[in-house]
Amino acid sequence: MHLVQLSASSAVRLAGAGAAQPASGVTSLAWLLVVLPLLGAAILLFGGRRTNRFGPALATVLSWASFGIGAVIFLAMLGRSADQRVEVLSLYSWIPAGGFQLEAGMLVDPLSMAFVLLVTFVGSLILVYSLAYMEHDPDRRRFFGFLNLFVASMLLLVLADSYLLLYVGWEGVGLASYLLIGFWNQIPANASAANKAFVANRVGDFGMSVAIMLMFATFGTVTFAGVDAGVAGANQGTLTAIGLLLLLGACSKSAQFPLQSWLGDAMAGPTPVSALIHAATMVTAGVYLVVRSHVIFEGTPTAQTFVVVAGAITLIFGAVVGCAKDDVKKVLAASTMSQIGYMMLAAGLGPVGYVFAIFHLLNHGFFKAGMFLGAGSVMHGMNDQVDMRRFGNLSGAMKITWFTFGIGWLSILGVPPFSGFFSKDKIIEAAFIGEGWRPWVFGGAALIGAAITAFYMSRLFFMTFQGEKRWPRDAHPHESPRRMTVPMIVLATGSAFLGLILGPTNAIASWLEPVTGRSPEGEPVIAVPVLMSLTLLLVAGGVALAWVQYWRDKVPVAAPAGSLLTRAARQDLYQDDVNEALLMRPGLHLTRSLVFFDSRGVDGAVGGLAALIGGTSARVRRVQNGFVRSYALTMLAGVVVILGAVWVVQ
């Protein structure tokens, strides 16, 4: 009965959350998706040592249970017609405070379900992998507790029906990320990396918070449905402000320029964490946010342009950094940054891009998580070595790892018919649609990014698995146990076929249509077949160059000095130095001078009269010799005595 077809001018707005209906059937169980892993986290973290024995297994089972419920809801949703797939589950009155009234509720629609399936499926696989990977860690109960906390928060993030509840999940994943980056914080560098991630995210939270306040001041509500409905009447300036503030939040969470510097350091966390949180799921939350807020962004071309620009800069930035790093995890981190740049770019393009942003996000979730797990498997077999210059020719010793990693590599390169091809190629096409300078600049960036990606990912693959052995003397690489290889095989299967299943069949586009609307047809400024050939040619070029340098030629064990650009890229293009010069050092000075000012200035001036008479030291002496004390006590006693006297006399 709420099937109000919004007769908005653009077909894009046809669906959206406006057509939501109350949850019924299995959808009313959606709260269990969040509660089950949350329960696991509570049991493991508050249960203490008692839960050491069964905790990790329990955490894994609860995560799979969440996936099971997600799958059931998904199947039920598949069974309904497209216009009945957006449901809202009201939970309870969360914040009733005068003019600010907010219910906690869940928005169960095709977009959130896509994330639910990704998060619970990949998350559960990674929990299984961790059972083996973390087997000998004395604190593994805590590890699994944190991972469950992460899964619960991520599900809350994608299922929330309001910006404020989304923000709870948003910070929850940030907390889990902080805890897991710093999981081995007995090493000081890891503790610093964890802090950096949290603080960078808080900068984004500033944007999120103010955006939510601005929404409330403007629309009187912070639910997705309410805000979307108000957008049509709002003025450009306000929408642009909201859009840019949301983008600030998205950039911090998704490690986009200029808030990307924390992601490389975040690799301090255990590798399964890097796979799940810092590759497949959490870092893509910014893309989710932009797509979820598409109605706002469509109302403000300025903010949209900023989204595209942030994406374009980051996709090149990450790719360049990826070319120079020798630490296998840092290359993958840079690559994640770059790939999310693609998604961000697509999301900023508007209706032509949403579907491909989400499609690439799903594919990336599989191939990047798979490659991270592969990297973990290599580290597992190489005494936790991460320097690719000490790998080489591991294909023989670790056949399954090599093979599954290889599929991920082909997928990220965009080689048909692997998954990445179907989403990335479409993003490049979409970036070339438009008028004026935009398609050339943004399309060009996407195209060049593809070439660089081909180079650095091939460099990684060849340095690790091909060429000559450069192993340290004590290395005895061996294939990892079944509990690690099976998740890798499953993810590789997804990396191989997911794109083929969802792309050419148009399944993903029609699935997301109730949320994002139908993508308009558009012609790239370069004909599609030409563009596709050009892309593949550039990718082949990148691979060939990597082949020459890192397979055919000998790879030196010590890194060569490198060109100016290489050295800059090794230092993450000096982002840390910029942050330090612009923020940290001035901040430190400000804090120090304020501490001085507080004890001398404010305290002195306010504590005042005595100081004026006798100077600071004299004042302290006076206080301590009891003169002031007895005076003060006398005053207090006087007040009490007078009151008492009046009472007695009356």
């Binding site: 600010f100 929850g172 914080n185 500033f206 103010v210 001041a217 639910t223 804090t591 002031v628």
Partner: protein, 512 residues
Amino acid sequence: MSSFPWLTTIGLIPLVGALVVAFLPASLADRARQIALGFSLVALLFTVAAALQFNAGSSQQFQFSEQHPWIEQFGVSYAVGVDGIALVLIVMAAVLVPVCLLAAWHDVPDSGRRQQTYFALMLVLETFMIGVFAATDVFLFYVFFEAMLIPVYFLIGSYGGPRRQYAAVKFLLYSLLGGLVMLVAVIALYQAGPGGPQGFLVDKLTGITFDQNAGRLMFVGFFFAFAVKAPMWPVHTWLPDAATEAKPATAVLLVGVLDKVGTYGMIRFCLQMFPEASTWATPAIIVLAVVSVLYGALLAIGQTDIMRLIAYTSVSHFGFIVLGIFAMTSAGTAGSALYMVNHGFTTAALFLVAAMLIRRRGSKRIPDYGGWQRVTPVIAGVFLISGMSALALPGLNSFISEFLVLVGTFQRYQVAAALATVGIILAALYILLMYQRMMTGPKPDSAAGTPDMSHREKWVVAPLIAAFLVLGFYPKPVLDVINPAVSRTLQYVGVTDPAPAHPGTAAEGAVK
């Protein structure tokens, strides 16, 4: 409504307890702590029983009212009663006192006169705290307001750290100065009011149109005392000294409860009795509040003493509370009232867990720690949760109140709200840097064999963590009680919430 004198009873129970504990026969001296805890738990029980009977929908401003003439010549009555805001603060105080008593178990090592006095003073303080929130007579409020200083003075001055005398006197001087300025305003208020034998009743002093200048002067008199108490920048410097020199349990009651009298007083007296002056002073107060938020946070980042650091975080948090009060929107002021409760629990947890560490390490200096997550993992975990509450992590208690303050402020003062929001970044810095310095890094050899959290200590933190989670996910029971009190206050001031610029006409109403 029953005519049972709930508030007087709740107030008297700790007082009786204090007398019992103070004059315990020598044979029972080693039971002093248990007896004190027992009395505070009985008081808590009565408080909960009263709270359950509170009717949020009542048309009366105050419930559980009692009124007896006291000094009729001067219009002074013994009048008590609570609205929703006072009620939740009394409940908070009643919860925190037993927690503090349990935390203070080993503060005075040997049983005897000194220990009995220590626990008796805390119980006396509880009586005064309940009295100050319950008073509905301005003069009675003033009496409790000043009387509170006495137990606190002795708790700091006799039981505190090495510089306790300096800290106690500084505390006393600041408070007395504020109090005396307020006393002048109190007397002037009686003169300007209707007078008569009940001339000090809040009811009688509400809704009067004072002479503009007189009203403003009286407002300033009250506000100054409350700003010192709260404490706001620039009259905050007594707090770090008092907090670090006092025993941690004293610091909790001081910062967590006593200081709330300042912000509570702003709502009850400044806004309610001087609406015109309140709106007149708002711009200046908003500026001071924002300065407090940022200044307190920056100072906290720069501290090397754990207790001082926590004290400065409170300066920042009180800035938020004042900001929300003077935003005068239903969301902002309700957020402030909720923040007062949340801050009590959060600060208690921070101080008390820090005290557990200080007891083990024997130092308040942050650089003396490092790697303690691997020495006392449970204490470290609880410390982190408390820290997360302090930085207002969504999902925990403080987030709701901080967000309400900000969103409510933003409705009127966008720049102030945005500036105060920078505080959330600074909060992450002061908490996480402290945690990093104290808890992370390699396990120190020197700390080998240090015991982790004891059973008693677990009972200290359990109610606080429970409060974090309940108030984070389900603040409705507290907000439902606060809301009517807030809207009544805003009615007195005569302000209404600004309407949204472009209301979302959503199907929202239909969905919900």
